[in-house]
Amino acid sequence: MKKRGMESSLAEHSAPLIAKIERRLFLKQGLSLGAIALLSGCELTEDDTVQKVLTSMSRWNDSAQAWLFNPNKLAPEYPESAITKPFPFNAYYGENEIRTVDGSSYKLELAGLIRDKRPWGLPELYALPQTSQITRHICVEGWSAIGKWSGVRFSTFLERIGADTSAKYIGFKCGDDYYSSIDMATALHPQTLLTLRYADQILPPKYGFPVKLRIPTKLGFKNPKHVMAMYVTNTYPGGYWEDKGYNWFSGS
């Protein structure tokens, strides 16, 4: 009788835990299924209906990843000795085709749900409180590299401009025509950086002069370079690679 009492007590206590584990397993399996479905989609068919289903699955996947995202969990940071030299260049164009941006006339344009849409020049950005991080850039192609990035904590910048942080998305337009967007939780993450320097030097063109968004909790293609404009919105903005089937959230 005593044993049965203990069992029932254990069952009572473990029921919520089991439910939690089952929910996590369901989510993990769901995410895996989503990923497999997307991978299959790359090869099997370009049929519209299939694409719509896969897109819906990917969006569901985004929601699940956003739900699992812990805004307080930090990406690992490394010592200077771990920095990858040279840090690789990667873009949809060659290194000899890097777009040039004139720093003297540069203005970061702001739009959407932002109280103060006044554009920001480089001297103003350099004058904001700066922080550094040595973090790993992970590319969806399967390689990674560690670099030292410095700039303004993005949450600080969002606060300065009066961004509506209850909005869902922040979109970015880049000087090389690239575009992408992120979720607000990631934008407010303490390691998300409006990057102005690499290895303690003004950001070189190949790493995104004059401004790059560095997000160590996301894959490399979610780290736009040559950022010329940003907007805060509740309308899903997608992105170049994201609209081509790559997972939008792409983070942890």
Binding site: Y92, Y93, E97, T100, G103, T233, Y240, K244, Y246
Partner: protein, 80 residues
């Protein structure tokens, strides 16, 4: 050779000046080659048939779509 001193100083000054110019160019803009829009992308992420010029076209299309929706959003036409 005391007569060489001003010349040496001039050469040093010219070298320093060119160094400063190079620094300035590096920190603001180094002219790159124009992008060959019809060439395939040199990136492993690409899917078959993707060309460099596709990004610009997609960006212009996205700009139009987002502008219309954000105008509506600003006017309070859309709820969160």
């Amino acid at each position: 050779m005391p007569g060489m001193q001003p010349l040496r100083a001039l050469v040093v000054a010219a070298l320093l000046a060119s160094g400063f110019c190079a620094y300035g160019a590096d920190s603001s803009s180094t002219p790159g080659k124009p992008m060959k829009m019809d060439d395939p992308m040199p990136i492993k992420m690409k899917k078959p048939g993707m060309k460099k010029g596709d990004v610009k076209k997609a960006a212009e299309k996205k700009e139009r779509e987002m502008k219309a929706m954000m105008d509506k959003e600003s006017a309070g036409g859309e709820k969160k």
